[in-house]
Amino acid sequence: MRRTLLVLGLMGLFAVWALGGKVTITFWHAMSEKHSPPLEYLTQKFMEENPDIQVNLVYQGGYGSLSQKLIAAVAAGTPPTLAQQYENWTTQWLEALVPLEDYLDPEVLADIHPKFVEMNTFDGKMLTVPFNKSIIVLYYRADLVPEPPTTWEEFLDLACKLTVDENGDGVPDRFGTGLRPPNPEIFLTFLAQNEGSILSEDMAEVTINNERALETMEFMARLAKCALVQGGYLSGPFGDGLIAMFVDTSAGYPYNLSAAKRGGFEMKVTKVPCHKNCASMVQGTNLGLFQLNQSEEQIAAAVKYIEFLLRPENTVYWAKETGYLPVTVSGFESEAWKAFCEEHPERKAMSEQFLAGGFGQIHHPAYWDIRNAMITYYEAVLRGEMEPKEALDALAEEIKTIIEEY
């Protein structure tokens, strides 16, 4: 009996030693085959530095399933410690998050690029940190575009010049550019360049049908006449030689490059043509730390992990390996990043594009519905089914209804 007790006691002690010393945090992500290995590498490095912390990376499929799972988990009160999230997801569970502004080391906090700080600030507080951020740039064929356009006028002109119908059947064999209705971020980029927006700054008024927006949509309608308008990724028609240049997210770079190789031409990347300014929309998710269902130790461990990811050498490693942007000032200014950009002009263009005018999505909880409404009318204009004014007025009405319901 005494021996049994002794064995049980020892086993108990062993369990405390084995489990008690280690804090486990869970990180739900949607990084697939190409982006997952660098994340695993950094996480492994972090755990070697911090043997008392175990970070469980859990792949949750694409963004769609990650969002569904997070909604369910927050509703059930059992979210993970960390999760990738878009701004419009974050607005749905503001109270469930730890305000990272109050937890991060002030030095680390001050190092996050101010543009990203703005994108991660909700109701005056920085809640999340930037994670996998990409930006909209211009991709073009070096053989057809010797000098890339730098203004709207040049872009439109060139797009129309490059639209050719060689066999004379009335359908162009090649378009100057391509536009994808499900990707209204291109329109939003041009809208911001024309100093327009979806909503007023206090988000109380719909401004999507004011003069600036109308000018922008009219420009899109003119551009659409020299553009291949289709729903799929533009890398497909680009590789088939159907389009000469297009505006797209920098995250699509590896796929667009494969397409160019398939088409047998050289692809180059530069900044989106500018108008009143050189704004360009930032895409990709941020990292949020949940306070629901987490112990103090888990929160502290997660803060440590975030600070680790934000170190200049790590944010640069992440950017180099994945194609996303560095997220800190010291990362952008590091010798390592500068040297890398010199070797990779396309990355330099992406980096410069961000610094020149990166902006994020509006922080309205109904952003997803607003975006969906926008796609409908954007598509109608691009396909010539609606006049820009008619479409924007209808869109404004729809957005009004959406935000009133909230």
């Binding site: 997952s36 399933s65 799972k69 369910a72 059992t78 990409s134 995250a251 699509g252």
Partner: protein, 277 residues
């Protein structure tokens, strides 16, 4: 006589040409999958498609296999598909028999409610289901992946239609001989309904084999994930690695294909007899 035979021959020939064309159309996506699985990323989307890849990238298969723990995924997919199929066949036979052949209070109302549940979109149930599974303590266990899927309203509906075609005289005769209801079901109804049951089983097996969102939502551990979750790994929001995705899909589809080859007679009979198209 000769002209009749000749005409019949021509008719048959036409029929075979048409069927062959149909078969070709059906098999094209499979051929594309197989061919793409052996290409590199650059030539994967070439138009017109290059059917015979040159050079052949055999290494896509080991690369896809090692990109995610597919060995474990295969085991899980098999284990879950087989257990849910067995479970569903058992519950479905009893429920369908009750609805088809027994009389009890509120039978039709109950059956209507049952059918009504088919109308509720799955997405709406996601949060309540997640909370339920969490509260039951089944999150991150095989229970969550198996138990809720051992009952299928669609299966019950399908088998009920099948059982209704069995004449009641069989039961009368069996009863006179002293047969119990349970024994009657196993020894008379089930053997008579083999095609129907095989159809239910096959639908379930394929459905379970392809299940994605449920597995993803109800588990957090790699050790519990299934093949479709592994396939999703090759797709991102900005593009897809088609050669690896197709290599993994080819591996994933083989078991289902083999099962279909061995059971296709039952499957087709089951569909035609229940009047489903």
């Amino acid at each position: 006589m000769q002209t009749y035979a000749f005409r019949r021959g021509i008719g048959k020939l036409l029929l075979y040409v048409l069927l062959s064309l149909g078969a070709l159309v059906m098999i094209l996506p499979f051929l594309w999958m197989l061919s793409t699985s052996l290409k590199d990323e650059v030539s994967a989307l070439q138009m017109p498609p290059q059917w015979i890849p040159r050079p052949v990238h055999w290494e896509n298969f080991p690369r896809a296999w090692s990109a995610a723990p597919f060995g474990r995924y295969f085991f899980n997919s098999f284990f879950i598909a087989i257990t849910t199929t067995v479970g569903e066949v058992i519950t479905t036979i009893f429920a369908a028999y009750a609805f088809a052949k027994m009389n009890f209070f509120g039978k039709n109302v109950l059956f209507t409610i049952f059918l009504g549940t088919l109308m509720i979109p799955g997405q709406m149930l996601l949060v309540p289901n997640y909370v339920t599974i969490k509260k039951l303590g089944w999150y991150n266990t095989y229970w969550a992946l198996i138990i809720p899927w051992t009952v299928s309203v669609f299966g019950i509906f399908l088998l009920r239609q099948f059982f209704r075609t069995i004449p009641d005289e069989f039961w009368d005769a069996a009863r006179i001989d002293g047969c119990s209801r349970f024994r009657y079901i196993w020894q008379v109804v089930v053997p008579l309904s083999r095609p129907g049951i095989a159809t239910v089983a096959l639908f379930k097996f394929i459905g379970s084999w392809n299940a994605f969102l449920w597995v993803l939502i109800m588990t957090d551990k790699v050790e519990l994930r299934t093949i479709p979750v592994g396939l999703r790994f090759f797709m991102s929001d900005v593009g897809t690695n088609y050669p690896l995705l197709m290599a993994a899909s080819t591996m994933a589809i083989l078991p289902v294909l083999l099962i279909f080859l061995f059971t296709q007679r039952q499957f087709i009979q089951g569909i035609t007899r229940t009047g489903l198209k």
